[in-house]
């Protein structure tokens, strides 16, 4: 056995200057954020009292308006499904433009990525406000907001998956004389399908949650009911709305988990 004269690598690698800088900025932001929030024991104590008061007003929940709440929840689900369906359908071609291996040109790719980044950066609540101005109050504004949010989310993950695809089957199809479209739909799309399905199902879960919030700004759905109950201090009705939301979100997560397992 030959003698090993080489020095062993350090047990803890020395962080780089950039790593120190990132750590420093993070620490500064954390401390300044904590200071700004001013989480005093007194304030937290008052918060607990207020919560207890809310709970006493809310329990037992008032189910008298259950029909209206169920209809609004159904509208929320519809908004989420329609929004995600359009969002996913539009995400695929946009993702092809964003992905390095399928984009027709670097400039097209840069532009497409910029669009997706913009869509992702703007929160869904802002989109809802914009679309309430554009198309008025109601579910259409909510659906459009979910479409935008879904594109921002799905197009990014779709394009990353497309870039990771093994190029060999596509090369084999191209070698048979297949055109670019046939290679994408014949080799790349099937390879991406399980990942696309998982991302789309997660989008549905995400959209149901965000559709609830979108109602708060008048974009239709159960958020309108929740907002109205809270504004009228009918916390017992608000609790009914919250319970229905909880039930539906959990059901959607269960169903999507089951479908995901089947597809992947």
């Amino acid at each position: 056995m030959s003698r090993n004269d080489a020095a062993p690598p350090p047990r803890w690698p020395r962080p780089s200057l950039a790593a120190w800088l990132v750590l420093l900025v993070f620490g500064a932001l954390f401390l300044s954020g904590l200071q700004r929030a001013d989480p005093s024991l007194e304030r937290l104590g008052i918060g607990v009292d207020n919560l207890a008061e809310f709970a006493m007003d809310a329990v037992p929940p008032d189910f008298s308006r259950w029909r209206a709440i169920v209809v609004a929840m159904f509208e929320t689900l519809q908004m989420a499904i329609v929004g995600v369906a359009f969002g996913v359908a539009l995400s695929f071609p946009i993702a092809l433009l964003c992905a390095r291996n399928t984009s027709p040109h670097a400039v097209v790719r840069a532009l497409a990525r910029m669009v997706v980044t913009t869509l992702r950066t703007v929160p869904d609540l802002i989109w809802a406000l914009v679309f309430v101005i554009a198309v008025g109050l109601g579910p259409l504004a909510g659906i459009l907001a979910i479409v935008m949010d879904t594109i921002g989310f799905c197009a990014r993950f779709f394009s990353e998956r497309i870039e990771e695809v093994d190029p060999s089957p596509g090369q084999a199809l191209a070698a048979t004389g297949a055109g670019g479209g046939a290679v994408i739909l014949g080799a790349i799309a099937p390879a991406c399908l399980p990942s696309f399905a998982a991302t789309s199902l997660y989008s549905v879960e995400k959209a149901v949650r965000s559709a609830v919030v979108l109602g708060l700004v008048g974009a239709g759905g159960i958020g309108v009911e929740l907002s109205a109950s809270m504004n009228l201090f009918r916390y017992d009705q608000a609790l009914t709305v919250i319970l229905v939301i909880l039930l539906v979100v959990m059901a959607v997560e269960q169903v999507s988990g089951w479908v995901r397992q089947r597809v992947i």
Binding site: A172, G177, A178, A182, A191, P194
Partner: protein, 269 residues
């Protein structure tokens, strides 16, 4: 002559199926992969190209299909130079060249039948080749191709659930579906165990012979190369160092070809 002309069943005619003259390929990073390669392959002839890793074999294959553009010299596949073709004309040329790859290159999560139907993409386009939409004669042709490689019963299985040998058979069925006149096989048995490798070579060569196809095959297995090839071509550092009928290639020539790169693999080892 065009590469889609009727077969000349096993007869080696005077007009070459492939002609490579002074082929040069230098990559953007300055690597000279091919340095004046000359090669002529007659219709129906089976040529095996030998050489150690990095000697230019794969680059030669890529130039033949137009995937890589040569930086010098000329290629004629039939009477067409792939290097000057673009778009639809290049796709038409590729449709006449069947490729068999080392890693099979199947679309893993679709059915075996669908993979075979993909062989007809160049002729019929995607919609006509999607299994549920494909017309009955096309599906029948794909099933015939699968029957020819002994996998008709596995048509409905997902391709990635098959063994390596079976996947390579599916790739050969896809090549059959292409109705190609020229076959380029790039290390078709490199990912297989010796038994499966021999079975695949038996199948590939029997199909090539019965249909009078022209084949260029890259191999590292010297025993298989000697057994199947009409001609052996040795490539070293981008140059042809020998090009002779298989029975005339000497052990010394082969040893020199692989000198300094470790022993070449004999089939079954």
């Amino acid at each position: 002559m065009t590469i889609l002309a009727p077969p000349a069943v096993t007869a080696v005619s005077a007009s070459p199926a492939i002609r490579v003259e002074g082929l040069e390929k230098t990559y953007a990073d300055g690597t000279r992969a091919l340095r004046g390669v000359d090669l002529t392959v007659s219709p129906g002839e089976g040529v095996v190209v030998l050489g150690h890793n990095g000697c230019g074999k794969s680059t030669l294959m890529k130039c033949l299909t137009g995937i890589e553009r040569p930086t010098g010299g000329r290629i004629l596949v039939g009477d067409v130079d792939p290097a000057v073709l673009r778009g639809a004309r290049l796709r038409a040329l590729r449709h006449g060249i069947g490729c068999v790859f080392q890693k099979f290159n199947l679309v893993g999560n679709v059915s075996v039948l669908q993979n075979v139907l993909f062989g007809a993409l160049g002729r019929h386009g995607l919609l006509a080749c999607v299994s549920p939409l494909a017309r009955t004669p096309l599906r029948a042709q794909a099933l015939d191709a699968l029957a020819r490689v002994g996998l008709a019963t596995l048509a409905g299985r997902r391709a990635d659930t098959l063994s390596g040998g079976q996947q390579q058979r599916v790739a050969i069925a896809r090549m059959l579906m292409q109705e190609a006149r020229v076959v380029l096989a790039d290390e078709p048995v490199a990912s297989l165990d010796p038994k499966a490798g021999r079975e695949v070579m038996d199948l590939l060569w029997s199909i090539v012979r019965e249909r009078g196809l022209t084949v260029i095959c890259v191999l590292h297995q010297l025993e298989l190369a000697r057994e199947y090839a009409d001609r052996l071509v040795g490539l070293a550092a981008g140059r042809v160092v020998f090009d002779s009928p298989a029975h005339q290639v000497t052990a010394t020539q082969l040893e020199t070809l692989y000198a300094g790169t470790g022993p070449a693999r004999e089939a079954g080892t």
